[in-house]
Symmetry: C2
Subunit: 157 residues, 2 copies
């Protein structure tokens, strides 16, 4: 079990692209829409994962992640997960001692760009780069499980 402590922000501008490592294509879906836990199937590049998370309390939650064969991950995504799937490209931006992860969404969530950073404790100090915008850590609309049911392109502006 890992305790995941994560802060999440909107991204502004394009400056982040110049310092990002090459992106990796992600596809992910959910096997449950119940409150209190999520069961996620993810393909990241050529790797498959099954991830169970508890409900979020503040900015932390329990997370259990298991590697699974990528062909089985695709079968689960296509045949057993709720549709549509979440598609995004993830870019890593190391900023010692942390690593920012920028997710540029595609498909029904195109136009949305989010940055996440994982912390080792919940009050860890964080230097925010210029391209970081509004914090949305506790805004449930930016949870991937919410986006799966309410794609960004359908949000009212």
């Amino acid at each position: 079990m890992g305790l995941e402590i994560e802060r999440k922000f909107l991204v502004q501008g394009l400056a982040w692209r110049e310092i990002a490592e090459p992106g990796v294509a992600y596809a992910q879906g959910y096997l449950t829409r119940e409150v209190g836990r999520s069961v996620r199937v993810r393909v990241a590049g050529d790797q498959g994962f099954l991830t169970i998370k508890s409900a979020t309390i503040g900015i932390s939650r329990q997370e259990y992640e298991y590697w699974i064969p990528v062909d089985e991950a695709w079968e689960l995504l296509k045949n057993l997960c709720y549709q549509p799937l979440i598609e995004k490209t993830r870019y890593r931006i190391p900023q010692s001692p942390l690593v920012w992860e920028v997710d540029e969404f595609g498909g029904d969530n195109a136009g949305l760009v989010l940055a996440e950073v994982e912390l080792s404790h919940s009050d860890q100090e964080l230097i925010l780069p210029d391209w970081i915008g509004q914090e949305v850590s506790q805004d449930h609309r930016y949870f991937n499980s919410y986006l799966n049911q309410h794609p960004y392109q359908q949000w009212e502006s």
Copy 2:
């Protein structure tokens, strides 16, 4: 992915005990109660498993099973699965070329004894031992996921 083809029966009498291998203690729970798929956590002896099954069509369904660390399986069972958990002792009874599995339930399902056999195709011939009773393959009340919500001891006789 495996396609699971299984027939399930009530067990009558105690003759099966004499030919059974030593039993293994099982504890299992579910991370979802949604229709169309199940996500099961199981501890079998000292092994942990995460199993995803599709809806049952007739006597077959898709099954994906992954080994997970047993301490994490216990954490998932206790903290994230619906309660109460299913407790049972599973006994193997080889009967070439098949293997019967007899589940003797405990806890809230004490009194229930079921036998299952996995087939390689759905119309495979099956010789039924004397201790096999009524077939319940398609009776949803005997699904473990149903027993989790409606324990056997609460059934009206």
